[in-house]
Amino acid sequence: MKIVVLVKQVPDSGAERNLRADDNSVDRASANNVINEMDEYAIEEALRLQEAHGGEVTVLTMGPDRATESIRKALSMGPDGAVHVLDDALPGTDYLGTSRVLAAAIGTLSPDLVICGAEATDARGQVMAHMLAERLGFAALTGARKLTVEGAQLTVERQTEEGYEVVTAATPAVVSVWDTINEPRYPSFKGIMAAKKKPVDTKSLADLGVSADQVGWGGSATTVLSHSKRPARSAGVKVTDSGEGGVALVDYLSSEKFV
């Protein structure tokens, strides 16, 4: 089975993150950049499938030069190689443009399966799997908490607010996963050493047959017009107990639907 895993480098969600004042884009220069957490679950799922069914796992990243660090980190977990889409025209590309570029890159790899995280912690759009499936003509099995493969048949438990749905499709398909699907492995020291020697194929937009005016600020269908800081947390409700404190607390909890 040939599997492509999408890996995105994002600012560490545990640290302070900002949007840039000039173009409203995510400030990646000042942040500690890491692999999008959900992508580690996608990598783990791909590696487990490879262990069970054989085949090849390729990491695909679109991002600036420094995304190389995240590619090497991803490869240290075990994938065979990576494709890095790197082009000066890419900054500012929105979801639609990104899906155009990634679909073109996936097209050159002809995988049976594309696995990605259900969302990235920077923009949390949850749309990439659907967009890619549409562009590639693949089935979209999104929000998986379990994935079973039997031959070319895929069965996914799709997590919902209330429980889960069972959906099936034949390959080729795009599967997006939540962090309930597995427990990602740590890299091994040998894996880190081996990752330095694994092939990383750098592709430009020209290599993928995508023109520069279809991406970047100019080629995007959506634009962020402005942004503002999240308002500071307001002071909570203060209950002064003059004999009725308990009732006041229950009233509050009840009004907020805690009880």
Partner: protein, 379 residues
């Protein structure tokens, strides 16, 4: 761990320490208090470290090891110890337990067993001490008698870390006459008939790590599991201990660093007389002394390690490093309890545990009195 400036020999050493820090922060730090309070051995956690390659760091790549110099391996132990000294000690004891086979086993023995021993899934124990004597190892009394293709081993080993949870035991026993030249080393699997780990000791610290006697009631060990020749056991044991002592020094440096980091954080937050207590000279100087002593111990440990890595004599320097680092850790952990005052005396803060854990490091792998004997003899 706080920002410790490190000079590392290779980029791969840097990667290894980064991986170790990630494991220490995500797997060790959140679990240490809980496992130590319950006295449960974290076997799965040790496997996680093993799968990342941390249970065979100094050994040959030919057998699946990471072939790292001691200089690097000790800093891995130090980082682990900064989060949970019990785990660092487990890795150190396991690495010690692989030493006899790795350095004195025949090619055939190494090919057969070493990849499994250092591969990460198995855990080792090292049985040298006995109830009647630990320091005076040359006079051990556990007896091994050759019967056909086996040795039949009878005696009792004491203070055995990983007793009951280990997958293999190095058993030092007497195959010949009295004194050091009558001792041999057997590599016994845990399922050896007659090898019986006893009830766990109730220890002052390192409670997650089982320590017990191991009774050898006519234990039958195949003669093919003799490591080195008959009579070479004492030499093997002492060589392993020189390396093991460096491991304990690393545990001590890491433990003290963890205590200092915690106490420093507390002293910056805790306000008395209107200012953080770290600004009181009495407290600030205590922390400064601790930081200096830790740095000195680390430098001494790394000096001994670099001698070893260069193939030079390092036995005396290892004894000095073990002695200095563990006495330092006891002093620093005592002082860090003092920095927290009453809060340092209760189990809500980890310095209470660090204090109890530091004590054993002055005793294991040769008491600090034995280290002084070794050093004095070299003068």
């Amino acid at each position: 761990m706080s920002s410790v400036a490190r000079l590392l020999p290779t980029p791969e050493a840097h990667d290894l320490l980064e991986l170790t820090s990630e494991l220490a922060d995500k797997e060790l730090a959140p679990n240490a208090d809980d496992y130590e309070a319950r006295g449960e051995f974290p076997r799965e956690l040790i496997r996680t470290l093993g799968r990342s390659g941390l249970l065979g760091l100094p050994y040959s790549a030919e057998y699946g090891g990471a072939e790292q110099p001691y200089e690097v391996y000790l800093q891995v132990l130090e980082i682990l110890a900064g989060r949970w000294v019990g785990i660092a000690e487990a890795v150190s004891v396991h690495t010690l337990a692989c030493y006899p086979l790795a350095h004195h086993g025949s090619t055939e023995q190494r090919e057969r067993w070493l990849p499994d021993l250092i591969g990460g899934e198995l855990l080792g124990a090292y049985c040298l001490s006995e109830p009647a004597g630990g320091s005076d190892a040359a006079n051990l009394t556990t007896r091994a008698v050759r019967e056909g293709d086996d040795y039949v081993v009878t005696g009792t080993k004491a203070w055995i870390t990983h007793a009951g949870v280990a997958d293999f035991y190095n058993v030092f026993c007497r195959t010949g006459g009295p004194g050091p030249k009558g001792i041999s080393c057997l590599l016994a699997p845990a399922d050896t008939p007659g090898l019986n780990p006893q009830a766990r000791e109730k220890t002052m610290g390192l409670r997650a790590s089982p320590v017990a006697q191991v009774a050898l009631d006519g234990a039958v060990v195949p003669a093919g599991r003799l490591i080195g020749a008959e009579g070479e056991g004492f030499r093997i044991a002492m060589g392993a201990l020189d390396s093991g002592r460096l491991g304990i020094a690393a545990c001590a440096v890491g433990l003290a660093q963890g205590a200092l980091d915690y106490a420093t954080g507390y002293a910056k937050e805790r306000v008395q007389f209107g200012r953080p207590i770290i600004e009181m000279q009495g407290l600030g100087f205590m922390l400064a002394d601790a930081a200096t002593e830790i740095a000195a111990a680390r430098a001494l440990m790394l000096h001994a390690a670099r001698l070893r890595d260069a193939g030079l004599a390092y036995s005396t320097e290892a004894a000095k490093a073990k002695l200095f680092a563990t006495d330092m850790a006891m002093k620093v952990c005592t002082d860090m309890v003092q920095v927290l005052g009453g809060a340092g005396y209760v189990a809500d803060h980890p310095v209470e545990r660090y204090f109890r854990e530091a004590k054993v490091l002055q005793i294991v792998e040769g008491t600090n009195q034995i280290q002084r004997m070794v050093i004095a003899r070299s003068l």
